[in-house]
Structures are given as structure tokens and as C-alpha cells.
């Protein structure tokens, strides 16, 4: 308060002078920047080290005793490394079955996760009222936070018996629940949150204007969603699915417990009931048993490298797709394209310039507009030249592709019947398309009446007819295969000759047309545009057909050679052959169509429709193709031949219904999907509680119930009761569970159960059969604490560097992709890395220290990313306000940006803590022990040390379930772990809500 104006004035000017004189010290700007830089490039260093140390332990396998080459490793199906330990036998390292198992499990999980995930995402984004929306979103994120061991446990205890009951006739055949089916369901549930959240993001971020425009025209809500919204978000949804696949392929614990882990190669059909083994489960199960330094030890690292490469590929693909989405909404500025149209006899220029023609041309002084030029460009393009090359490549790849089918599916005439019918249908389709195309070209001809054009036109027609005819003959040849071999051979040969002639005619005529147009440009407008569209469709249909052609050819050749060598070779190496073939097919098809894309890119805007529809077509072919193949294998061909046509019929049928009925049906379906997701969560929580009750007694639930009542009363008093408050929801759920269980099993539980509250506080006794889990709780506590102490500073400062100090450019892009890849890397890969680097190379041995360091590397990318996003989200105005006052960058970050970003960062940190507490795979390899003498902590005063092994909650669950067969205690431990994770999660949600308030 201004008491004495004079003194105050003097004081004031003194203070101002002080301010003016004050010099901000450069204060070790260099040191700050350097430390930040190191933290920032941490992720690149981490990826580099991971690859280095994985490969370091994998390479010695090349010189293994059994002389297995890498090709053998990947293609053979015989995995008996333990035989190495027996004196008279050699270990077998054929991991083909294991690799195949991983792929099967991924596809199977997607079969479940995609419909439910996308349905749920649509529900959340479009249909759910706001309160339910937030509720469901949080519930789905809760699903994401549940540790995988808890899922595995749930699968083991609940899902497997359920499956046995569901398929009683299978039980007679030896089905015991653990199977590809069980693994697919569990992994599907685990991948669900990823798919739901990324898809929902994509759906919500589509511009509102699209929806509004559609609704303004009188479309129903469902029409808007299905025709406008979903197509515009297709890239985002694809990225979501791919990310989900990455999660599924890297999952260890859940798969380990429910997939059966049989070493036999699963045979179709109905392979869905077979037991399978995945890469991750193999590493987890066998690592402890393999003697250090032996071939077995190194072979597991080879598996780890393969797994890392697979997830690397998946992550890169999804990043590329996500980048495309960004580019679509923020397209980089286009530069004016000016260039010559064709190099050759006459060069032309785009634009309004007159084009030089030859003397006898009738179009000397014509001025071309953009559409016309584009059409000419298309016809001129390198289409003709490339056609032949692509045709040859296609023929080659098909044969191989179909050999793949042969090796995967048991040779079955009925299948051929089905395939043959499809082929005939496709042929007819192609003929129709061909006729339309030729008709449009004929129209052009009629308009201009230019000589010689007729000749090429006819030749084109002949070519097409020949090709179609040849296909028909081949199909007949196959049908006659079993009847009369000679006839088949004759037909096949004739057909092949006709086919070659036909393709030759087509090629020749396209060449000539092109030459002709070079000399006499024709005014081609919409007809040509439509014509080119049909050209594409025709080529695709033709692709499918040539597939079958080559297939038949090779089948014939195989049987003709009479030798079984080829067949046995194929049989033996079927996995690698199949994978190689599929790859070849993908490369060929995409290169063929990329060639078409290149043409399309220089088209006028009217033609980019083709580009997009072709991209969609490729994706559809790839996806549907792989699922069709999977279904053929996992189920039976009957299922495929019934379901796919049914789907087509349904989609045709729904077009006949009125939009309103359509909406009701679709909404019903989506409601069912969304409610199933919720049901799954409820069942999960319910059963986890159930086991816990036996050990902990009802008293724990009474305690939770009391807490619930208190919180509800407090919330009501402060009028802050919100449905989205997850804590409240959880507590309400617990109450309901308590009541239900009490009602159902009145006499089964005592108030205190076997151990009661002392479960938390007693040390473990008698190898886990009695006593409490205090050891494990302490172990997990110290692990989480120290991991956070190391990871938070590095992570936050690294994130600050990336957000504020780094310059955009190649380095930043590399860092971001390194981080994204690390985020998607399976946790067991981190475990292997920790084993190789910390445990063995640095000789920290299996210890708490190794565990802390490994977990740090695992969570750092998440923390860095979250910090970077949070600081970038701070409004620029705040930072500028600080700069304008004369602060350095560091001061502005520390005093202004960090406090605003803090709640968001805390959310991420807390979620990371949940992960550290719950992950089993890494600590299994580098830190955990089941039994150990009890210590209060890793410090000298407690008598413990960092270099000792440590007892941890997730590992306790695993061992109780697998080794000790004490599922009830395992369930109780799972409940404790679950509650820990829930607490972390509730804190994170609470923080996030608080954050939203600050910025408002």
C-alpha cells in the first residue's frame, strides 16, 4: 500500500534501476542444451542398441552345431532345441511352425477385434449420447490398462472351460480349451482398445462440414456415417487396425497361457481348434531352460530379431499411412507442373499453347484444354510398354501364389469346384467390362472417322476374345482333370497357346494405338475418361483370372512330371514358400497398379477418382484376401463359400431397404457390438473379484463398499458427482459385484477368507501356498519407484528438447519414427535386450538393477512423446508473452510451459507406472525370482541389494498359475495387481479432468 508517496517513489525508481541493471546470465546455456539433446536423441540410441545387442546374441547361431541355415530356421517345422542337451541327438531348430503360429494368432485376433472395435468406435463417435460416450471411452481405456498376465489368467480360468462347454463334440477329440480360438479371443480383447481409440480419433476428426452437408440434403444419420464419414476416415481406421495387429503379434503372457503351446504344425481345416505356439511364448517359456551360450540360447535371440523386424515393419507401415492422413488435411503446397507431354517425334507443352502437328493432321490449330491433355497423356503414357512386363510378372506370381494355396489347403476337388465357379463368374464380368470399354473407344472412332484406327480396334477385340476363351478352356480342363487326363492335357495346352496369342494381340494393339495417337492427337473427352476407368477395372478382373490360369498350369505340370520330389519339397518348406509367394504376389500386384497410379497422378482432377478407388481396391483385396485365406485354413472351405457370398447378398439386399430401416438395422448391430465390449469388461472384473474373495475374504469388498458410500456422499455434497468419474463407477461396480456374489454363494465365503487383510502384509511362506504377498508388493513398489526416478527426468527433458529446441528436418523425423517404433515393440524384445545387455554384457546379472534399467528403456519413449505433445499443446501466446518480457527460452519453458503441461505429463507418467507394475515378459527374463529371502528393500540398512533378484506381483501370478497350480492364490494376486493398476488409472483420469479445467 502506498503510505508515503515520496518514499515509495524513491524506492520504486531504485527497484527499476535494479531491474535495468540486472543481466540475465547465459547460465550454462550450452550445458542445458547438451543435456537436453542427449535426452532427445535417446530414442535413436536405444533403437540402435537394441538392434545391436539382439543381433549380437543372435549371430552365433549361424555357426550352430546342427548346421541349420537361416533358411532352414525359418522354413522347417520341427522345433526340438532341447534335444541338443541329450548326448546322442542333435537339436532341431525349425521355427516355421512358430512363425506361422504368430501370424495365425494375429489374423485370428483381428477377426474378432475388427468388427467389435470398429463397431464400438462408430458407436462412440457417432451414436452415443455425450455422457455414455465419455463413460465408454474411459471403460475402453481401462481395458487397455489391464496387465496382460491378468488377461491370460482370466482366459485360463474362465474362457477355456467355457470353450470346452461350448464345443462338447470337440472335447472328445482331445480339445481342452487352449487353442488358436482361445488365443484369438483374448488377443482380440487386448487389441480392442487400440483399434477403438485410434479409429474413434479418426472418425471424430473428420471435418464437421462433411456431415453437415450430407444431413442438409436429407440423408439419415446412418447414411451420412456410412457413406461420408467412414470412407473419409478409412486411412485412420486402417492405421488403427495395423497398430492393433502390432499389439497382437507382440503379446506374450496371454498367449502363453491360453494357446496351448503345442509344437506340432497346425493342420487345416478347423485349425482354429488346434494348439499353436507363437514366437513370444516360445521365448518366454524356453529362455530360462536354455543353457547360456548354447545354440538354444542363441536361437531364441534369432526369434527375437525376427519378431522385432516384424513389428518394425508393421509400425512403419502404419506411420506412413498416418502421415498420409495428415497430408490430406494439410496438403503441402503444390508446385505448378509444367513440362513436356511426350518425348518423341513431336514435343508438346501443357497449357494453352497450340500444339505442333504433322502436315496431314486435321487438328492443326486446335487448342487443348486440361481434360483433353490429360486424356491424351493417359493414352500416350507408358501403359503400353509396361503392360507386357507386368503381364509376365503377373503370370509368374500367380503360379507361385497358387502353389501357396496348395500347400496350405489340402488338395480338395470340392475346393476346385468352388474356385472354378468364382472364375467363371469373374470371366463373365470381364467380358462385360471389355465390351463396354471397346464400345466407348468405338464411339470415339465414330466421331472422327480416322483411318487405320479400325484395324487396331479390331485387333484389340480379337485379343480380348482370345484371352477369355483361353480361360474358359482352362477351367474346363480342370474339371476334366479327374475324368480324362489326356483330354485335360490337350485342353490345357491349347488354352495356353490361345492365351498367349490373345495377350499378344492385346499388347500389340495397345502399342499401335499409342503410336497412332502420337501422330494424330484426337479430341477425347469424357468417353476417354470413362474408358480409362474401365481399363483399370478390366485389368483387375484380369489379374484375378490370370491367377487361376497359372495355378492350373502348374498343377498340371506337377502331376505330369510324375516325380514326387517337387511335391515333397513343397510340403516340407511350405511355410517359407507360402510367405515368399504371398510377398511376390503383393509386390507384383502393387507394382502393376503403381504403374497405373503414376499415369493417374498426372491426370486432370476428374480422374483422381480412379486413384482412390484403386487404392481402396488394393487394400480390400489384401485384407479380404488374407482373411479369406485364414478362414479357409482355420475353419473349413464350407464356411468361406457360405459366408462370403452371404455378405455380398446382404450388402445388395440392404440397398433395397429404405434408409430408415437400414439405419435401424445397422444401429442394432452396432449397439450389440458396443454392448458386448462392455459385457466383456464386466465379466472380466467380476471374475477377478471372485477368486480374490476366497483369499481376502468378504471384508475387503465391504471395505471398498464403505469407501464407495463415503465418496458418493461427498460427491453429492460438493455437487461434483459425475458419471464419467471412473472412481465412482468402479466403486459402484464393486458394490454390485459384492451383492451378487453374496446372493449367489451365501455360504462359501467367510468374512475374512483364508488370509483376510493380512494377505497384504504377511510375507510369503511355503513356496506360495500360504502366507501373504508382502514380498511381491514391496518388490513391485521398489521397481516402479526407481524406474520412475530414472525415467522421468530423462523422459521429460527429452520431450522438452523435441518440443522446443530441435529443428524440424530429417533428424527430428528419425527420432519420431524411432520413438513410434519403440512404443510398438513387444515387451519381450525389451526383455531379451535387457538380458543381452544388462544381465550379460554389463554383468549386472538377474537383479533388480537390470529390471529397473530394462523397464526404463521400455517406458521412456512413452514419456518423451507425452511430454513433447503436452508442451507443444501449450498455447503459443503464453510462451510469447514470456519471451516479450525478456526471458530466455529455458526460463519460459520452466516457468510457464511446464506448469501448464504438467497435468498432461503426469497422466502419461502414471500410465507408464501402471505398465511397469504389470508387465511380466521383461522382468521374467531379467529380474524376477519366485522364492527369495525376505527383505524390506534393496538398501544396506534393510539387508538387501540392487544386485539381487526380486519378487514381483506379475511373476508371482504366472508361477502360481503354471508351476504351482494354485489358481486361487493366483487369482487373489491378480486382484491385487488389478487394484494397483486401477488406482494408477484413476489418478491419471482425475489429473486429465483437472487439466481440462485449467486451460478453460
Amino acid at each position: 500500500m502506498m503510505q508515503n508517496p515520496e518514499t515509495d517513489k524513491i524506492q520504486y525508481s531504485e527497484i527499476i534501476e535494479k531491474i535495468q541493471k540486472n543481466r540475465v546470465k547465459p547460465f550454462n546455456q550450452f550445458w542445458i542444451t547438451s543435456i537436453l539433446y542427449l535426452a532427445g536423441i535417446f530414442s535413436i540410441i536405444a533403437v540402435f542398441f537394441i538392434i545391436l545387442f539382439l543381433v549380437r546374441e543372435a549371430i552365433p547361431f549361424i555357426h550352430n552345431e546342427t548346421n541349420y541355415s537361416l533358411w532352414d530356421f525359418v522354413s522347417k517345422v520341427e522345433w526340438h532345441p532341447e534335444w541338443q542337451l541329450q548326448t546322442d541327438r542333435n537339436g532341431l531348430y525349425g521355427a516355421g511352425g512358430i512363425l506361422f503360429g504368430s501370424i495365425l494368432v494375429t489374423l485370428g485376433s483381428m477377426l474378432f477385434a475388427i468388427p467389435f472395435g470398429i463397431g464400438c468406435a462408430i458407436f462412440i463417435a457417432e451414436i452415443a449420447p455425450p455422457k455414455i460416450k465419455i463413460f465408454l471411452k474411459t471403460a475402453v481405456e481401462l481395458l487397455a490398462g489391464i496387465p496382460s498376465i491378468v488377461y491370460g489368467f482370466f482366459g485360463l480360468r474362465i474362457l477355456l472351460p467355457f470353450l470346452i462347454k461350448l464345443f462338447p463334440e470337440r472335447e472328445k477329440m482331445g480339445f481342452a480349451g487352449s487353442s488358436l480360438l482361445a488365443a484369438s479371443i483374448i488377443l482380440g480383447i487386448m487389441a480392442l482398445p487400440t483399434i477403438v481409440s485410434v479409429s474413434e480419433d479418426a472418425l471424430s476428426s473428420a471435418p464437421r462440414e462433411y456431415k453437415e452437408a450430407s444431413l442438409a440434403m436429407g440423408a439419415t444419420k446412418w447414411q451420412t456415417t456410412s457413406k461420408i464419414l467412414i470412407p473419409s476416415s478409412v486411412s485412420g481406421i486402417t492405421a488403427a487396425v495395423i497398430l492393433g495387429m502390432g499389439r497382437a503379434i507382440g503379446e506374450t503372457m496371454a498367449v502363453l497361457l491360453v494357446a496351448g503351446n503345442s509344437l506340432n504344425f497346425p493342420e487345416g481345416p478347423w485349425a482354429i481348434f488346434e494348439r499353436i505356439r507363437t514366437i513370444t511364448a516360445t521365448i518366454a517359456i524356453e529362455q530360462k531352460e536354455s543353457p547360456f551360450g548354447g545354440d538354444w540360447f542363441h536361437s531364441l535371440f534369432v526369434l527375437g530379431v525376427i519378431l522385432f523386424l516384424m513389428t518394425f515393419l508393421i509400425n512403419t507401415i502404419s506411420s506412413v499411412i498416418l502421415k498420409r492422413i495428415n497430408e490430406r488435411f494439410h496438403p503441402p503446397p503444390k508446385e505448378e507442373e509444367i513440362g513436356t507431354l511426350i518425348k518423341g517425334k513431336n514435343t508438346y507443352e501443357i497449357g494453352k499453347q497450340p500444339i505442333n502437328f504433322q502436315e496431314n493432321s486435321i487438328l492443326k490449330e486446335h487448342h487443348f484444354n486440361d481434360n483433353e491433355i490429360a486424356s491424351i497423356q493417359f493414352l500416350f503414357g507408358k501403359f503400353g510398354r509396361k503392360f507386357l512386363i507386368y503381364g509376365l510378372m503377373m503370370a509368374f506370381s500367380f503360379g507361385t501364389f497358387l502353389v501357396a494355396i496348395v500347400t496350405i489347403i489340402n488338395f480338395n476337388f470340392a475346393i476346385f469346384l468352388g474356385i472354378g465357379l468364382i472364375a467363371i463368374g469373374a470371366l463373365i464380368g470381364q467380358c462385360i467390362v471389355q465390351i463396354i470399354l471397346l464400345d466407348s473407344i468405338k464411339q470415339i472412332n465414330l466421331r472422327l472417322k480416322i483411318a487405320n484406327f479400325n484395324a487396331f480396334f479390331k485387333s484389340l477385340v480379337f485379343g480380348s476374345i482370345f484371352v477369355s476363351f483361353a480361360f474358359l478352356m482352362l477351367i474346363f480342363a480342370i474339371f476334366l482333370f479327374q475324368v480324362n487326363l489326356t483330354l485335360t492335357i490337350v485342353l490345357a495346352c491349347t488354352a495356353t497357346i490361345i492365351l498367349v496369342c490373345g495377350l499378344g494381340f492385346e499388347f500389340y494393339s495397345w502399342l499401335k494405338i499409342r503410336e497412332f495417337l502420337l501422330v494424330n492427337p484426337i479430341v477425347i473427352k469424357r468417353k476417354a475418361i470413362e474408358g480409362s476407368k474401365l481399363m483399370y477395372i478390366s485389368s483387375i478382373v484380369r489379374l484375378v483370372l490370370v491367377f487361376f490360369v497359372a495355378f492350373f498350369c502348374i498343377m498340371i505340370i506337377i502331376s505330369l512330371t510324375g516325380s514326387n520330389e517337387l511335391l515333397t519339397w513343397l510340403d516340407y518348406n511350405r511355410v517359407i514358400v507360402s510367405i515368399g509367394i504371398l510377398l511376390l504376389m503383393i509386390i507384383t500386384v502393387s507394382s502393376y497398379l503403381t504403374g497405373a497410379f503414376r499415369l493417374g497422378r498426372s491426370f486432370a482432377p476428374a480422374l483422381t477418382e480412379n486413384q482412390r478407388s484403386i487404392k481402396k481396391l488394393i487394400l480390400q483385396i489384401l485384407f479380404i484376401g488374407s482373411f479369406a485365406l485364414f478362414s479357409l485354413y482355420a475353419f473349413n472351405w464350407i464356411v468361406v463359400i457360405i459366408i462370403f457370398p452371404c455378405m455380398i447378398i446382404i450388402s445388395i439386399f440392404t440397398k433395397k431397404l429404405t434408409p430408415k430401416i437400414n439405419q435401424i438395422l445397422s444401429y442394432t448391430l452396432i449397439y450389440i457390438l458396443a454392448i458386448s465390449v462392455l459385457t466383456v469388461l464386466s465379466i472380466l472384473t467380476f471374475y477377478i473379484y471372485k477368486d480374490g474373495l476366497e483369499i481376502l475374504g468378504i471384508s475387503i469388498l465391504i471395505a471398498i463398499g464403505v469407501l464407495a458410500l463415503i465418496s458418493i456422499i461427498i460427491s453429492l455434497l460438493r455437487q461434483k458427482f459425475r458419471w464419467q468419474n471412473l472412481v465412482v463407477w468402479l466403486i459402484v461396480m464393486s458394490l454390485l459385484t459384492l451383492l451378487t456374489l453374496l446372493i449367489l454363494n451365501k455360504n462359501q465365503w467367510t468374512l475374512s477368507g483364508e488370509e483376510g487383510f493380512s494377505f497384504f502384509f504377511t510375507k510369503m511362506q511355503e513356496s506360495g501356498d500360504s502366507g501373504g504377498i508382502l514380498n511381491q508388493i514391496l518388490g513391485t513398489f521398489w521397481l516402479v519407484l526407481f524406474t520412475m526416478l530414472v525415467a522421468i527426468p530423462i523422459g521429460v527433458y527429452g520431450g522438452i528438447y523435441l518440443a522446443e529446441y530441435s529443428k524440424s528436418g530429417p533428424l527430428l523425423n528419425i527420432i519420431h519414427s524411432a520413438i513410434d517404433n519403440l512404443n510398438g515393440t513387444p515387451s519381450i524384445v525389451f526383455g531379451l535386450f535387457g538380458l543381452s545387455f544388462f544381465v550379460y554384457y554389463l554383468d549386472f546379472k538377474i537383479s533388480l538393477l537390470s529390471g529397473i534399467l530394462t523397464m526404463t528403456i521400455m517406458v521412456l519413449p512413452t514419456i518423451i512423446r507425452i511430454t513433447e505433445e503436452a508442451i507443444k499443446a501449450v498455447p503459443l501466446g503464453l510462451k510469447e508473452g514470456s519471451y516479450a518480457m525478456g526471458t530466455t527460452k529455458w526460463q519460459a519453458i520452466h516457468k510457464i510451459a511446464l506448469p501448464v503441461a504438467r497435468p498432461s505429463i503426469i497422466t502419461g507418467v502414471v500410465i507408464a507406472m501402471g505398465r511397469v507394475a504389470g508387465e511380466t515378459a521383461p522382468i521374467l527374463l531379467v529380474a524376477a525370482a519366485f522364492q527369495k529371502r525376505f527383505v524390506w528393500g534393496p538398501f544396506k540398512i534393510f539387508g538387501g541389494s540392487f544386485m539381487e533378484e526380486v519378487q514381483l506381483l506379475p511373476y508371482h501370478i504366472l508361477d502360481l498359475t503354471t508351476e504351482l497350480q494354485n489358481p486361487v492364490r493366483a487369482g487373489a494376486t491378480a486382484l491385487v495387481l488389478f487394484i494397483f493398476v486401477l488406482i494408477f488409472f484413476a489418478i491419471a483420469t482425475f489429473m486429465r479432468l483437472k487439466y481440462k479445467k485449467i486451460l478453460k
Binding site: 500500500m1 502506498m2 515509495d8 524506492q11 520504486y12 527497484i15 527499476i16 535494479k18 531491474i19 535495468q20 540486472n22 543481466r23 540475465v24 529443428k807 524440424s808 498455447p875 501466446g877 503464453l878 510469447e880 508473452g881 514470456s882 519471451y883 516479450a884 518480457m885 525478456g886 526471458t887 530466455t888 526460463q891 516457468k895 510457464i896 506448469p899 501448464v900 485449467i998 486451460l999
Partner: protein, 256 residues
Amino acid sequence: MRNIQKEYVIECENFSFWYGNIQALKDINLKIVKNKVTAIIGPSGCGKSTLIRSFNRMNDIYENAKYSGTIKFNGHNIFNSNLGVTELRKQVGMIFQKPNPFPMSVWENVAYGPKIHGIYEKKQLNIIVEHSIQLSALWDEVKERLGESAIALSGGQQQRLCIARALSIQPEVLLFDEPTSSLDPIATGKIENLIIELKKRFTIVIVTHNMQQAARISDYTAFLYLGELIEFGKTRKIFERPNEDLTERYITGRFG
């Protein structure tokens, strides 16, 4: 005849500025007179904000910014690293278009400046805070609410708070970048009056797209068009008898 030497606080000499490949300012020659209000007017996108942000080197935060020519502050080249950028900003304060109070209390906002420049004693900070808020004609409205969040204030109050914050370290020059474009007419009036008061002690440069505002409060006016300085001179002359035809067409509203 009395030789009234005009004192120039900021002098722009052949200053050009590029964002990447786009040239935002072309050869600006401009002198800001001490203790006067200089307005910079012109249609949207003509480089007004870029120019004023160059005066306190706020454009440094953009990666691909390039410049040529010099800007002198009291005779010193501001791009010379002898006069550090933090020092420059102590002498040349800025108020932004959108009020950007920090998410802290009112008191904290105004005390931020002195704190980072070395004043830590509560008593001294109190003096500064009160003085600055009084200078920006906000004291009566917030004297009971110094501890409350600054975000809770109205738009006009927030902007005056930002002015108080800028004043807390007693800069020589105050740069206003369209300070009233997001405010209602009453708040605009209050801030215009405040500027007229402040020019007695500070030099003020104000960017505005509102010509009437420039005519009301400024002593000198600079007219910028597409990055070039078309005309500069006393406000009265610019608005009544401009030299350039372009200026006249803009003033009379023939294009905007």
C-alpha cells in the same frame, strides 16, 4: 528558430524480411519518435505485425526467418549480439492481439517480470505490482482480487493486465499489436485512453487495422502495403493531405 531535435528511439534502415522464400517486408525506412504514438496501418497481410515483431526480435522464434538491413534501438543495432535479445526485450515491451495472461494469479502475472530480472523481496514486488496496475488503470477493479486467477478477468481487463505486466519492468518502448481487435467498444475506449496517457512516459508503436483508431490516438502514422512502406508522416497530414495516391485510396476506403 528553435532547433527541436527529434529523438529517435527506433530506426529502421533498409530493413527487409523473409519467411522462407516469401518476402514479407521490402526495404523499410522508418524512424520512431520518442514519447509519441506511432501507428502502423494497412490492409491485412501487408506486414504490419511482422514489422513490429521485428522491433523486439519476436520473429527469432521462427526457424526460416531471414532479414537484411538494420534496426537500431537508441543507436545500437539490435541484431548485434552485444545487445542481447533479453536485454532488448527489457527495453521494448509488447502487448499482443489476443490477451495472454499467464495461468496464475493477477499478482503473479505482474510480478513475473521483476522476478525474472532479479527482484525477489516481497515488499519490493508489491510496490512494483501496485504501481504497474495503477499505471494501466486497472487498480480499482482488481485491488481486491490480486490473488485470484487472471483468467477469470474479462477480455478488456485481461488486456490491461497484460499492459500492466509489460509496464512492470519499465521498458522505454511499448509495442501494441492490434491490442483492441478482440475487445468490445467500451474496453477499446478504455485502452485508447490509457495509451494516450502512457505516451507521456513511454514511446508507443501501435499496429491497427482500424483507421479511425489510428486517427484518434496517434501522432505519426505509417502506411504499409504489401510489405512496402508507402508513406510515413504526421497523422494529420496522412489523413488530410496524403502524398501518395495509394494512401488516399486506402484512407478513403476504396480498398481494404
